[in-house]
């Protein structure tokens, strides 16, 4: 069994950034594994622009953004194993690889999980009615259209207002399909505000909030859906049902970090994010296993996933060199009022931390507060908060060194 210093699983924005950074800072034995032939992860199918605003200060398409990283990667001569799936990962950081070249077991001193996420499906949302053809998750439709050159339908209803669905609404209109409506069960969209404007409003596609699909019709191909308004408790309002004819239903109802391998290795997962529980070095409960990108929590911006990958590279290097801070007691970071989750979940108080978090509902003119019991460590005013947008607040090691508990909240 071969031994490697660092193995990165997944070559999306997070994995690519992590691999290049590791090389740049002097770790030579890095292996980047990707199950697809092409590196770049989900961005290969994102042919719209809007990537790179943070990292390159310009707006790029997904493939262009990836190209920037690939150039660096090739220059640095990072070892890449594409067309290779990691099929098992064990707690001792050994793993089984499988690909057209064969199958092999290898072991790593440090593993970076960068497997991205997958979409929630019709079954996961208990979609009622028949099971005809023509029901796609938005990401699958995106891939079939943008990479495989297939048109998925003509008259489309989109259930859920996640970003992928919004982007697909525009894409379908541009390709000549009719997008009849987007239905969202929440009182606000779950996609980025900019996507609501650029993908729906600009194309006069109606967004019905507090509305969901009650029933799917059609035995062979979908023939229509019945949709219904929801009350404040999220229960269908009797009598508000309407039928709309369509031949395609796209689901954009949430992404789930892809942690089957992590779980197999014994990595503890967080009930809210669906990703690993990590400390301030992005290390999971298994020593030497780190996580970055959508596998850790779902990001709205690829730039942030890349930045997380770079950050993890620094920690992985320190880990290999035995230079991570010695910690006797971690403190948990709590998601307080108005906050759905905060990352990292545990801090040592020995290093500076940029806390990432998501709020529970949209609001304006608030304060983000980090506190230790009643003691406020940090406070910052914000104009706009939206659950679709990841927020952050930085806290220096000094500022929290005496803290006995930590909570991030909105007031």
């Amino acid at each position: 069994m071969t031994e490697r210093d660092v193995v990165i699983i997944g070559a999306g924005p997070a994995g690519l950034a992590c691999a290049t950074k590791l090389k740049e800072i002097g770790i030579n034995d890095v292996l980047l594994i990707e199950r697809e032939r092409k590196l770049g992860g989900i961005l290969n199918q994102c042919i719209h622009d809007g990537f790179g605003l943070h990292n390159f200060k310009e707006t790029l398409t997904g493939p262009e953004y990836i190209e920037r990283y690939l150039e660096k990667l090739y220059k640095l001569d990072v070892e890449i194993l594409s067309d290779t799936m990691v099929v098992n990962l064990f707690p001792d950081k050994s793993m089984i690889l499988s690909g057209p070249w064969g199958r092999e077991k290898i072991r790593a001193k440090a593993v970076v999980l960068a497997m991205g996420c997958r979409e929630r499906t019709a079954g996961a949302i208990w979609l009622a009615g028949t099971r005809p053809a023509g029901i796609y998750t938005a990401g699958v439709a995106q891939r079939l259209m943008n990479i495989d050159n297939y048109m998925v339908g003509n008259e489309v209803v989109i259930l859920g207002s996640g970003d992928v669905g919004l982007i697909m609404a525009r894409r379908l209109v541009l390709e000549g399909a009719r997008v009849l409506m987007v239905l969202e069960k929440l009182p606000y969209s779950s996609g980025l505000p900019r996507n609501i404007v650029q993908c729906l409003e600009d194309y006069d596609i109606p967004l019905y909030l507090k509305t969901t699909v009650k029933k799917v019709y059609g035995k062979r191909r979908i023939e229509g859906v019945e949709y219904v308004r929801l009350d404040d408790e999220g229960k269908p309002i009797p009598g508000s049902e309407k039928f709309v004819k369509c031949d395609t239903l796209l689901l954009s109802v949430g992404l789930i970090p892809e942690n089957e391998l992590s779980r197999e290795a014994g990595v503890a997962l967080h009930p809210v994010t669906g990703g690993p529980i990590v400390n301030d070095t992005y290390q999971t409960n298994i020593e030497g296993i780190f996580a970055a990108g959508n596998v850790l929590h779902v990001h709205d911006l690829a730039d942030m996933a890349s930045m997380e990958g770079e950050l993890v590279a620094e920690f992985a290097k320190k880990y290999l060199e035995g230079n991570l801070p010695k910690v006797d007691s971690w403190i948990d970071v709590k998601a307080g009022a108005g906050v759905r989750y905060v990352l990292p979940h545990k801090v040592s108080r020995k290093i500076d931390v940029n806390f990432l978090f998501r709020v529970s509902e949209p609001s304006r003119n608030r304060y983000i507060i980090v506190r230790d019991g009643n003691r406020i460590i940090k406070r910052r005013r914000v104009i706009n908060l939206h659950p679709a947008v990841m927020e952050n607040i930085r806290v220096k090691a000094d500022e929290m060194k005496d803290a006995s508990s930590l909570e991030v909240m909105v007031e």
Binding site: R35, D83, M85, V87, I96, S98, G99, P100, W101, G102, R103, E104, K105, R118, E119, T121, A122, G123, A124, W126, L127, A128, G129, T130, R131, P132, A133, G134, T137, G139, V140, R143, L144, M145, I147, D148, N149, Y150, M151, V152, G153, N154, E175, K214, K215, K219, R220, R221, D247, E260, R263
Partner: protein, 495 residues
């Protein structure tokens, strides 16, 4: 006997579900020219692909009935068939749990009945700890009956293996072939399908499941009626598999004729079934999932086994029972399996509801017996009882996997990430001997698209294989039935 002509057969079996295919497999041992007519593009799209997959022991049914006898017999023969046909199977046993004294009494009755039917090993366990010992996770039950003869297996893979093995042994399968008209002339049945194609057969077997009463009418027998009764299911993520050792059933309810109640059933591949419900419906092919029933399944399932959350559901589906009794009628009705007196050599199978799957091998042998009374059956010399198709990669040892993947790139490439299905397995499924070509046919044969991501990862990959290696055009892709198209065309002209 073997009359000449391409579409002339000794035996015509209408319906390629588990019953039709079991009969085809059993009869393919003999020198007979056999055809199976199936209206769907594949053999397991009816009830046989939509049930609990339980190999029943036989304690529910009236002693002396066909249901009882064929279930107990079928349970034994099925074990042998499953071995020969490499069908995923687990000898789990099963428990029925009682929550009050009345139900305990019912358990004793079932045990007696089971013993009268020849079911072995039934045991009533009273103390709560022992209930938990046998079946960890059952909460609040005061007693249970343990049935070691009950088991689980894959009903759709059984049906496919029967059909493909029958095909290998010379049975001709006509898929997408709905028989619309039957006439009898000079003692020969003349069949016509929806496209006007004609077939002839000497024996005609009605194995059309929920359509059996209608088909019977078509042949000239008006004595039967089928009342379709839908059973809905929730399918739970296989992450829960280690927690459920065996099927857990309640004591059967009296309401809907013979309904066994909402139960939890593991499948050999891991996902857990919750269900089925029981509701009479009009349309015998209305496989809907309804919010009311989904919620009821959740509640009733949770009561028996409080280990799953709503978010563990990966899929919902339903199957339809061919009930011979109308709503409200709680009388016991037996299977009808007989040669109709008024129409010699027409064998009718009516009301083959549960335990039809378990009983299938015994039913097939019974049908053979009926034919044997009038025909001399001579065994085929080169009959191949085993399923000749490939291996399931995930079931091999890691050494074997490494070896295979090293020899053939198609064994190394994983197409379905959730169930870890290789390209080789997908290709074998596409090249199935029956020529079934829909995505559902690939799904049933391989389990690709059946895992927790429901094809999110592998669907585009399978589509690519079909396009690049089999020359599929956009319009060739069908999910299941004719008309279940996937694509409306290309996005742009190919260069």
């Amino acid at each position: 006997m073997a009359p000449g002509g391409e579409n002339v057969f000794d035996i015509g079996i209408v319906g390629g579900g588990v019953i039709g295919s079991a009969i085809a497999y059993e009869l393919s041992r003999y020198n007979l020219k056999i055809a199976v007519f199936e209206k769907e593009p594949d053999v397991c799209f009816g009830t046989s692909g939509r049930n609990s997959g339980v190999l029943h022991a036989g304690f529910y049914y009236q002693p002396g009935s066909l249901k009882a006898r064929l279930c107990v017999e079928g349970n034994k023969i099925m074990r042998e068939w499953i071995r020969l046909l490499k069908v995923p199977f687990k000898a789990t046993g099963k428990v029925l749990v009682a929550f009050d004294e009345e139900e305990v009494e019912e358990l004793h009755k079932l045990k007696e009945r089971g013993e009268a039917n020849g079911v072995e090993g039934l045991e009533i366990i009273r103390e709560n700890e022992n209930v938990e010992k046998i079946c960890p996770g059952v909460k609040g039950a005061i007693a249970c009956m343990y049935s070691p003869a009950t088991a689980i297996f894959s009903p759709y893979l059984l049906t496919i293996a029967l059909a493909e093995t029958a095909h290998y042994n010379g049975v001709k399968y006509f898929l997408n072939c709905e028989i619309r008209k039957v006439e009898k002339e000079n003692g020969i049945f003349k069949l016509k399908d929806e496209n006007g194609n004609k077939y002839e057969c000497k024996w005609l077997i009605n194995a059309t499941g929920v359509h059996s009463a209608d088909f019977s009418k078509m042949v000239g027998i008006n004595d039967y009626r089928i009342y379709p009764c839908r059973g809905e299911y929730l399918l739970l993520d296989k992450i829960l598999a280690p927690l459920l050792k065996m099927p857990i059933y309640p004591v059967p309810a009296k309401k809907v004729g013979g309904h066994l109640g909402v139960h939890l059933t593991p499948t050999p591949e891991g996902p857990i079934l919750v269900g089925p419900s029981a509701e009479y419906i009009e349309d015998p092919e209305d496989y809907e999932s309804t919010p009311e029933v989904m919620n009821k399944l959740y509640e009733e399932g949770y009561k028996l086994w409080p280990y799953f959350k709503r978010s563990d559901v990966i899929r919902t589906f339903s199957g339809i029972r061919a009930k011979p009794v109308p709503p409200g009628d709680t009388r016991f009705f037996d299977f009808v399996i007989k040669e109709e007196e008024s129409i010699p050599r027409f064998i009718n199978l009516i009301g083959i509801e549960s335990p039809g799957l378990t009983a299938a091998p015994a039913i097939a042998k019974m049908v053979r017996g009926i034919i044997e009374k009038k025909e001399k059956l001579t065994p085929k010399e080169n009959f191949e009882p085993r399923y000749l198709r490939g291996e399931r990669f995930e079931e091999l040892s890691e050494e074997e996997r490494e070896k295979k993947a090293g020899e053939d790139p198609d064994w190394g490439e994983i197409i379905c990430r959730c169930e870890k299905i290789t390209r080789r397995e997908i290709i074998e499924a596409i090249e199935n001997p029956l020529g079934a070509k829909t995505l559902a046919s690939i799904k049933f044969r391989t389990r690709a698209m059946m895992g927790r991501c429901q094809g999110g990862y592998c669907l585009p990959k399978i589509i690519e294989i079909l396009e690049k290696e089999y020359g599929y055009k956009p319009e060739d892709f069908q999910l299941h039935k004719e008309g279940s198209w996937l694509f409306s065309g290309r996005m742009r002209e190919n260069d």
